[in-house]
Symmetry: C2
Subunit: 338 residues, 2 copies
């Protein structure tokens, strides 16, 4: 694969990203020192090798996903962020944040806004988060709110309705029960089987209190994954996509979640033909993880057309994930200090 060919491929991608129109040999002349005829010959070979394609015989060339693959992996030069850009990105994140979710949501929104793409943010499977607190608060006749807080700072409440009112004593028992058996337990251990054992251990209280435990189990399941897609509307106005595909895409977050689970731990760029076909045709999805105290805490992703400004947007994405990582880790440490 000779050097000029790579340059030409790179130029085709760069040009196509900007114009969205098939790129002809003349347009390439601005990038590569050679005549249009030479470039045409090279492009014909690139096409044979599967990196380019022609929508029709008398049109210019468009990169195939294989072409993008090569471009992203080997050819592209990322635009390093200038100080002003960094400042701008920083200004889009909150100075202070309360829950990690808030921070990550702001980043997701900011990224969607900057790139005019959809963004996705997902927490890692909270296998490692622990239950740090469970409270049961009576709120009315036979109505109770269960509040669960995890070590990763997530809070979940659920209203539940029991068959009987609980006595003060029963509540206190449950409180102790939670403290002894659930606090500090990883969510992953709250399986149906384990829960059954636990309820059995409640002895005479089992009858009345087991509904609370099973609600708690439900809550941990709901907490299991959290995927949030922002800026879908940006996709709708993107002419590279088929409207109906976007709609079906928006409807199933499940597949998206599975996809995110399949990404590696670092920066990841996938094009729609490389996925199991769930994503929108002609789309690409870029993901990068953020972490907390050295452990992966979640993934931030960008979903847009294949024709996307990788050189610019990948640094944006990575800057955001690194800022998130810093901010949550930093806060964690100052908390531990005091």
């Amino acid at each position: 694969m000779d050097d000029r060919k790579l340059k030409i491929l790179s130029a085709v991608v760069d040009e196509y990203i900007v114009t969205g129109e098939p790129v002809g040999s003349k347009a390439i002349m601005a990038h590569v020192k050679a005549s249009s005829a030479t470039i045409r010959n090279e492009m014909a070979e690139l096409e044979k090798q599967g990196f380019l394609e022609q929508p029709h015989t008398s049109a210019g060339r468009v990169p195939t996903y294989k072409g993008y693959r090569l471009y992203v992996d080997k050819l592209m030069e990322q635009d390093p962020l200038s100080e002003e850009e960094k400042k701008q990105l920083d200004s889009m994140l909150p100075d202070d944040f309360i829950t990690e979710k808030d921070l990550v949501e702001s980043a997701s929104l900011a990224l969607a806004d900057l790139t005019k793409c959809a963004t996705v943010v997902a927490n890692s499977t909270p296998k490692f988060s622990l239950i740090s607190k469970v409270e049961v608060i009576p709120t009315g006749k036979r109505m109770y709110v269960i509040l669960m807080i995890t070590s990763s700072g997530e809070i979940k409440n659920k209203v539940c309705r029991l068959e009987f009112d609980l006595t003060h004593e029963q509540l206190e028992f449950f409180d102790n029960f939670v403290k002894q058996n659930l606090s500090g337990i990883p969510l992953s251990e709250l399986t149906d089987a384990n829960i059954e054992k636990l309820t059995e251990a409640m002895g005479t209280y089992m009858m009345t209190l087991s509904p609370l435990v099973s609600e708690l189990l439900k809550m941990t399941k709901e907490l299991d994954r959290d995927v949030m897609v922002k800026g879908q509307k940006n996709l709708l106005t993107c002419k590279d996509f088929d409207q109906t595909e976007i709609i079906t895409f928006m409807e199933n977050e499940k597949e998206l979640m599975d996809f995110i689970d399949s990404t590696f731990s670092g920066l990841n760029v996938k094009f729609s033909p490389e996925t199991d076909g769930f994503v929108i045709h002609n789309s690409s999805i870029i993901t990068a993880p953020f972490s907390k105290g050295g452990k992966t805490a979640g993934t931030l992703g960008l979903i847009g057309p294949m024709r996307i400004d990788y050189a610019k947007f990948i640094p944006y994405l990575e800057y955001f994930t690194s800022r998130i990582t810093d901010m949550i880790t930093e806060r964690d440490e100052t908390d531990d200090d005091k």
Copy 2:
């Protein structure tokens, strides 16, 4: 306004609702016993009076919003629900529900599904709901969760971060303070001014505890209104609408909320030219309130094209609101019994 004219208008609307194409005089002959020429004459007059219009000279007629208005107010005969239909609708609502929001959300989803329109559901301004419980739960270094429950059953939690850790005594003071000064208070009384007075009354505790109170104030403000739109995707596939309008519509819930506030207490049908122009062109919005113990508790609405099957969908909407009313009122009573 003679009887035959009304019949013709009605036929035009009925036909247009089904076909979506401008309706010609021949098509009307199936509904009204008269020759096409006669019908043409009548339609020409209806056009003069502003009930019909022609997209272009050689096309059939389309109802204007004035035509729809007359149709909906005077001409339309609602299709009464059959027992099977009622059963079908019932099956789309949960048998049992935990929060009112869950119930209302199911109804909203079901209605969106049935009508292939968007639906909206909003609670009434919770001026009358009272604070029934406030709990402050420590969750980590300087981190507290405030949990607020209102008389209407809404639960809200908020994480807040203080400058100092609170002592047990401070927490207890706050607990008592809430019980004495806030429990049973209507949310509407939690104004900035009142809050200031209250914090002053805390005396020496003011410094440390006032952040909690101000967070609480924020929470009540956030709780203020709750609007939920479902089935937006149905609008996107509706060819009567302009895509970009739908997107801007989806982006501002605020205007929708204001609109809902302006509806009367009963069934309400509005066409886009009759609103302040916020809604999508060619759309209509139908709202009906549901209540709890005799008081309006919220509004369920249907947003779709003006060309919508009013005769069928209005009964659906009203059936749902009446079921919601029954279900929440019923549960309220059984709660009070025990």
